[in-house]
């Protein structure tokens, strides 16, 4: 695994190899709760990415000052402060956007992607790498939420981002808007992601075996 230490990999690993939703199974609570419509998914992912980038960067800067025993408490204080600051600034300067995102902001504090990256990455790596890692994880989160919310919005109301996609009169599955629909869709997505990884690994193995036999 030579690519592990490359700088570009710090960003790219969040997109698939260590995708926070599909591979690390982090941040399930907001994922299941907000993906009823695509616009909600995008809003949540952007707000989370914003907090993730800033808290990862800051935690990485002060990582050497924090004693091991109180690291989690320190991270939480930093993250909660950022979330509150974002909330206040948005309510003061962009009341319209705040109305749209309002209910999501407090949810970010408990999003374990942020604490997970602070603990798993930012506390062990330099600020620049942490920044790339946070951006990558945020993008991976955005992609997963987009896929999940598109499926749910399409099946529950026949629209994507409010535009009619399926012909009017197509039966609408109310279950997709309810928590059960979220679990079912997410489970199938996990299955698809694992199947893809499995098939790819098997192909790689076959290539190695045929090479070995040929020599």
């Amino acid at each position: 695994m030579a690519k592990v230490n490359k700088l570009s990999y710090e960003f790219l690993k969040g997109l698939w190899d260590q995708n926070p939703i599909l591979k690390q199974i982090l941040g399930m609570c907001p994922t299941l709760a907000v993906t009823v419509s695509v616009i909600n998914g995008i809003a949540m992912a952007l707000a989370t990415t914003f907090v993730l980038v800033f808290s990862s960067f800051l935690i990485s800067i002060i990582r050497k000052l924090i004693p091991n025993q109180v690291r989690i408490a320190s991270f939480i204080v930093v993250i909660a402060t950022f979330v509150t600051v974002v909330d206040y600034v948005m309510r003061a300067l962009f009341p319209e956007m705040s109305k749209l995102l309002g209910p999501f902001i407090p949810l970010i504090v408990v999003n374990c992607i942020i604490l997970g990256r602070a603990e798993g990455f930012a506390s062990k790596n330099n600020p620049f790498r942490s920044l790339l890692d946070a951006l990558g994880m945020g993008t991976g989160f955005l992609i997963s939420l987009l896929v999940l919310s598109s499926i749910r919005e399409l099946l529950s109301s026949g629209t994507i981002l409010g535009f009619q996609i399926l012909p009017k009169g197509t039966p609408q599955l109310l279950v997709m808007i309810l928590p059960a629909g979220a679990f079912i869709t997410l489970g199938l997505l996990f299955g698809a992601a694992n199947l893809y990884t499995l098939v790819r690994e098997r192909k790689e193995k076959e290539v190695i075996i045929t090479k070995y036999i040929n020599t």
Partner: protein, 187 residues
């Protein structure tokens, strides 16, 4: 011993910095937020009383209450903002009523933190439309899963019954306070 002191010092310093940052932000943002809120309320007054041309604030028992007038300065009715508990937190709404407080002209939700995608449908038109020209006597009622049959009933949103019920409860509470004031001749 050294680590214990370090632990205490680091955590205290981080908390102090965080507290200073938050109190600074809050004292900077709060007046702006209040301003936004007042502006929004003013806009909402004319949305829930579409025929109104001017309004006057009424200071009565701590309520945020306005009397509205038409173009001939004839009183049209009242606008009340009122808040109460929803499913997850406070719901703040604004309601327009006629002069005798028995018909609603329109309701709008000003602030809410209901579940995105489910409870927050109370801010959407299909739900709010039900309140237009709704009777408030004896009080507003809700029905679940079927179309309303009486002129004082609304239908709750599927999968968001509690949020829908909360809106009805908040309205009933606010309106009954107004009716009390009216009876005492204070309005």
């Amino acid at each position: 011993m050294k680590t214990i002191i370090q632990m205490v010092v680091v955590l205290t310093v981080i908390s102090i910095i965080s507290a200073i940052a938050l109190s600074e932000i809050s004292s900077w943002a709060n007046p702006k937020i209040a301003q936004n809120r007042a502006k929004e309320t003013e806009k909402a007054i004319f949305r829930v009383q579409p025929k109104a041309k001017s309004y006057k604030k009424i200071n009565q028992s701590g309520l945020e209450l306005f009397q509205v007038f038409d173009e001939n300065n004839k009183p049209l009715g009242y606008v009340l903002t009122y808040e109460g508990n929803g499913f997850q937190g406070k719901i703040r709404l604004i309601v327009g009523l006629n002069d005798s407080l028995n018909v609603i002209s329109r309701v709008e939700i000003l602030e809410q933190v209901e579940t995105p995608g489910l409870g927050n449908k109370i801010t959407e038109e299909p739900f709010l439309k039900q309140f237009e020209n709704l009777l408030t006597i004896p009080e507003i009622e809700w029905v679940k899963g079927s179309k309303p049959t009486k002129p004082n009933q609304i239908q709750t949103i599927t999968a968001a019954t509690i949020s829908s019920k909360s809106v009805v409860q908040i309205l009933n509470e606010g309106i009954s306070k107004l009716k009390d004031l009216k009876q005492k001749g204070l309005l």
